[in-house]
């Protein structure tokens, strides 16, 4: 039982990070119809920002928000420089552009910083854990779960209660009609990138907080997972992205925890197998997007 609870906490913690990343992908996809493969590099950028902030002697409570701010800025610049010029282009054009941005950023990290993994200075407290009964919960897990919950609640509030948030949901559903309401395409898209940058930044901080290192390709695997999570949840659906993120976190953690030793090498394959089975049952994802198959601008 305690082992089960322990694994549940691990799953919520990992799933929460996937959920944040998947949400960032979903917000951009719902509005632009584009999968931003450079999303992972926003995470990596956050990692390097944390590294430099640590080297400069900034305390973590300042370094972390600063790193998220760097991710937001990078996301908005990415949109302005790379994606805006191809916004009217085909989905394939946008996809290739996002690959190009990802590769350019990876190359910059490799050449301007280092090819190899770099340590990130973190407060000692993060590496500690607290015991609750027989459970041991890492401080970074508590941090991860708390931050994820706060972000999900705040984002939900933003999307439901502010005019820009409502406009973003409207634009995701029918961009032309949103423009008829005076919604400015640039404002909505820029806002969507800012939010996805913030989500990637938060995920990046949580990711690095558990590993204490950063390398040029750090963002690739988690964002690939988040992409799988967002498809599992229902591509373009925000609630779906969160559901998919947590579902994937649970699948991975519980496979690791309960698979017999000789099966462990097939863990990833089994996890994907379960995702495929779920998709066979629900082809549009766990919680499909409202406007599935609708034309995007």
């Amino acid at each position: 039982m305690d082992f089960f609870l322990q694994q549940t906490i691990n799953a919520v913690s990992l799933g929460g990070t996937y959920a944040l990343l998947a949400l960032g992908l979903a917000i951009i996809f719902s509005i632009m119809g584009m999968i931003n493969f450079a999303h992972g590099e926003l995470m990596t950028t956050t990692g390097y920002a944390l590294m430099f902030a640590g080297l400069a002697g900034l305390p973590f409570v300042i370094a972390a928000p600063l790193a998220v701010a760097v991710a937001i800025g990078t996301a908005m610049l990415m949109e302005r420089i790379a994606f805006r010029p191809v916004r009217k282009g085909s989905p394939a054009t946008m996809l290739v552009t996002s690959f190009a941005v990802a590769v350019i950023l990876q190359t910059l990290f490799q050449n301007l910083i280092a090819t190899r993994s770099q340590p990130v200075i973190l407060p000692d407290a993060l590496a500690q854990s607290v015991a609750i009964g027989d459970l041991t919960i890492g401080v970074n897990q508590i941090l991860s779960i708390t931050i994820t919950v706060i972000i999900l609640v705040a984002l939900n509030w933003f999307l439901k209660r502010t005019t820009l948030g409502i406009a973003m949901r409207a634009a995701a559903e029918d961009f032309s009609v949103a423009r008829l309401m005076g919604v400015r395409a640039n404002a909505v898209i820029s806002g969507a990138f800012a939010i996805s940058g913030a989500l990637a930044g938060a995920a990046g901080v949580l990711w690095v907080a558990q590993r204490a290192s950063v390398d040029p390709l750090m963002g690739f695997v988690p964002v690939l997972k988040a992409f799988i999570a967002s498809i599992l949840g229902g591509l373009g659906s925000l609630t779906g992205a969160v559901a998919g993120g947590f579902a994937l976190g649970f699948i991975e953690i519980f496979l690791t925890a309960y698979l017999p030793e000789d099966w462990q090498p097939f863990k990833e394959a089994l996890a994907l197998g379960i995702v495929i089975l779920l998709l066979l049952v629900r082809p549009n994802g766990l919680i499909p997007a409202f406007n599935i198959g609708r034309e995007k601008v």
Binding site: I166, E173, V177
Partner: protein, 239 residues
């Protein structure tokens, strides 16, 4: 006709090889209800979409005397004209009230005015007040059409382009919608109404144009057109 609030000259709309609108002229006077009639595929929606900048066009369009060709849709609506698109296109995943809130965006910072308009819409369409928290996609067709019109009216437009408001609705609901259109005139709003329901449109309209294959093939006052066979001929392709 009084001084035109909208005037369109040599308007053309082309989608690749398809020439949907072929150099039409039309004008709408301040305070008028003008109907734009014609069979399916005549080019009516393309005309309205071109006026609000949602379809690529050639020719001149002016609103309240100033040229508006090439201005982005989101900027145009702030000038006081808007379109209620064909097929309603309400935001189905949003609530009724959220749909209306969006309609008020062009009013900008005028919070007081936005609240006032929301109350006015609820008075004009009481059913929407009852359902303000409901997800709009679950409304009936007639209610969705009322929401689509109310959403456009939220921005206090001086010119409303209304594309086939009766499309797909039950006859009783169609009556209600036309009554509401007629009532709007009293509020001083000018309307360019696209419809397939010729008889009812000519009842509420002051004047009408008839389109066929991207051209205007007949025009006149509602009375003239009701008492002649010009409209039927246009529909049958003899004009």
């Amino acid at each position: 006709m009084q001084a035109p609030i909208l005037s369109v000259e040599k308007l053309g709309v082309r989608y690749g090889a398809v020439e949907a609108v072929r150099g039409i002229d039309l004008a709408v006077g301040q305070g008028e209800i003008v109907a734009l009639l014609g069979a399916n595929g005549a080019g009516k929606s393309s005309t309205l979409n071109a006026i609000v900048g949602l379809a690529p066009s050639t020719g001149q369009i002016s609103f309240e005397g100033a040229p508006i060709s090439g201005i982005a849709t989101e900027a145009l609506v702030r000038k006081g004209l808007t379109l209620t698109p064909e097929g309603r296109r309400i935001f189905g995943s949003l609530t009724v009230e959220e749909n209306l809130t969006l309609g008020g965006i062009p009013l900008g910072k005028a919070q007081e005015k936005r609240r006032e308009n929301l109350e006015r819409m609820f008075a004009l369409f009481p059913i929407l007040a009852e359902r303000r928290g409901q997800i709009a996609g679950t409304l009936s067709g007639g209610q969705q059409q009322m929401l689509a019109i109310a959403r456009s009216l939220m921005m206090s437009p001086r010119l409303l382009l209304l594309d086939e408001p009766s499309l797909g609705l039950a006859p009783r609901i169609v009556d209600t919608i036309f009554e509401q259109v007629a009532e709007l005139r009293a509020s001083g709003i000018t309307i360019l109404l696209v419809e397939q329901n010729v008889a009812m449109s000519l009842e509420v309209a002051d004047r009408a144009y008839v389109m066929a294959s991207g051209e205007i093939v007949a025009q006149g006052t509602a009375e003239e057109l009701s008492s002649s066979h010009l409209v039927e001929q246009a529909y049958l392709g003899h004009a």
